[in-house]
Amino acid sequence: MQFMSLIMTVFPEWILTHGAASVVVVPLMFAVLTALNPNAKIAWATVLAVTALCVFTSLGLLLQVASHGPIHYNMGGWVPPLGIGYYVDGLNAPILLLISVVAFLCTIYALPSVAAEVEPKKKGPFYAAFLISFAGLLGMVVTADAFNVFVFLEVSSISTYVLVGMGASRDRRALTSSFNYLIMGSIGATFFVVGIGFLYMQTGTLNMMDIARVLQDIGPNDRVVQLAFAFIVIGLGLKLAMFPLHMWLPGAYAYAPSFFTAFLAATATKAALYLLLRFTFTVFDPSWDFVTTALMILLAGLGILGMLAASLQAIFQNDLRRVLAYSSVAQVGYMLLGIGMATTLGLTAGYLHMINHAMMKGALFIAAGAFWYRFGITQVCDMRGLGKTMPWTMAGFTLAGISLIGVPGTAGFVSKLTLVRAAAENGWWWAIGVIVVTSILAIVYIGRIIEQAYFQPVPEIDGKPVVRNEAPYTMLIPLWIMALSALAFGINAEWTTSLAEAAAHVLDAGPNTIIPGAHDVVPSVIGGH
């Protein structure tokens, strides 16, 4: 605790009072400036500074939550439920930090990657769209107003459609993928807003805590409430690529510019997954029959199906990025399985896997982008000899890859082990079987790539073997930070596990109905400085 308060003194006062709003407002404001900026280098530097500031701010928020409990921020001083409230607790503070850190690391990587993939005059708007997408994701996570969630969901989605479509200068299939994503994403968001509408119809309020309070009075037998729940789960299911609703994901991940794929793969589904957790556990009541059934049959069931089907599909893909994309769908299945168990251990496992998977998949996609950057290759069969021609990049890829498989000592092992323990605790022995089978499938699809890279000869061009051509440092540094964190969270999982346990604790507490008055806006700690 002493250490905590020491760290707190590092953060300027405005972060502690207005941090919850500034993570959204600052990127949005700078997006406008970036769009108007004709110089790509300055635009990049702006994005780097903004994401660094967001990392700093969300770290401050996380520490503040850890030491002083949840933060309530009233937008414009209007007290919820009339005003829009922002709310940070143990559940969303780590997600904020995760999104900011991934955005920061990806921005470093963007310097060479975007230079190679985006036309020079489009770079300013490209970075601006990225900042908007980033702000939208943070907004989805930080807001406590249900309709505000929809607005930020669409803010981030619409800029994501644009950014996916920007991959067209490299591969024309980016355009059709972006179009499919637009159709599916809009249907998902509209389902979500229909759900919010039904909730508003029954409760007369949009603040999540206030909805939870009124829902407790209405009880579980109201048809409109049940309908609202169904619409919200399906809408968010589309956004988080729940198994049969994942059709937009492989195309969007495979053909978007590699910088944006790395960011998208590591963060977008996680933000939607967070919303699913927030709505199912703290707005609705997980002890209600229809919620329990949905968790057990829909989330856990589809999670299991997704793990099996998507892992199998990943094996039969030729394109490396599609292999990784299908693997993402499978990994979302692991998280859904953990959430579907609805026990403390299951939720901890699901949440832990969210954090670990973001690091692993970010590193894998960064490496995939680096292979294209140096040799213009995306096919698994073209990856022969990469262990010799790009040793550092391939080593980073391998490290993240074995973590994805779940080799002991890596982050993936820790989260899978927690999941197995949770399943055993529940007596779901079949689920353990599926986890083992899909881990073996992961060995096949990741091992296939590693085999090509290390055990196949270096390809020859005009009779001479291809010379070593390592990725630039701006790519290697973010790749290795992510890959090493995937290792570090495996060797010492104390910090990540404590974050996940804190989040599970929030979810265990059930519906959150507390709305403090205006006098609680500024935490008492500020007065001490």
């Binding site: 929809f150 607005v151 179009f179 807003v193």
Partner: protein, 150 residues
């Protein structure tokens, strides 16, 4: 049958929603898909507007005359007027204005989505020379099979 007419707006919402979804899934043409998507989104606007209706409620507008009836001659006439208006509002029944405001936001979102969608269709037409999904799939068939990037 009378049930249907009592909830006529909601019946229309359901019909529009299903028509929109059907068009999105059934049509091959990308513009038609976007039309379907717009119909689908519009049905939600109607849902929100319908739910804001209060039986016997007036439009939620406080007339200017009501604002100036406030007596007492204080300088802050408008503030007094609002208070007075609010007092009267307790007697007169108004419709709920909040869903209208929400749906204004949703309309803007819908317009933005449609604009991006149309821009994408224009680019797809430039690159592929068609906006029929089956023809695009046929054009990409070779690429998908070989897996070559270009």
């Amino acid at each position: 049958m009378s049930e249907l007419f009592e909830h006529f707006n909601f019946a229309v919402v359901i019909v529009l929603m299903m028509v929109g979804l059907y068009v999105v899934f059934a049509s091959n043409n990308m513009i038609k898909k976007l039309v379907g998507l717009s119909v689908f989104q519009t049905s939600v606007f109607l849902l929100y507007i319908s739910m804001s209706n209060v039986d016997g409620g007036q439009p939620p507008i406080i007339a200017e005359e009501d604002l100036h009836v406030a007596e007492g001659g204080g300088h802050d006439v408008v503030a007094d007027g609002v208070a007075e208006g609010a007092h009267q509002a307790a007697e007169v029944l108004y419709s709920n204005p909040l869903p209208h405001v929400l749906i204004l936001t949703a309309i803007v979102v819908g317009v933005a989505t449609l604009a991006i969608g149309l821009a994408l269709v224009v680019r797809i037409r430039e690159v592929y020379g068609t906006i029929e999904e089956d023809e695009i799939d046929a054009l990409d068939y070779e690429i998908n099979l070989e897996g070559a990037a270009e």
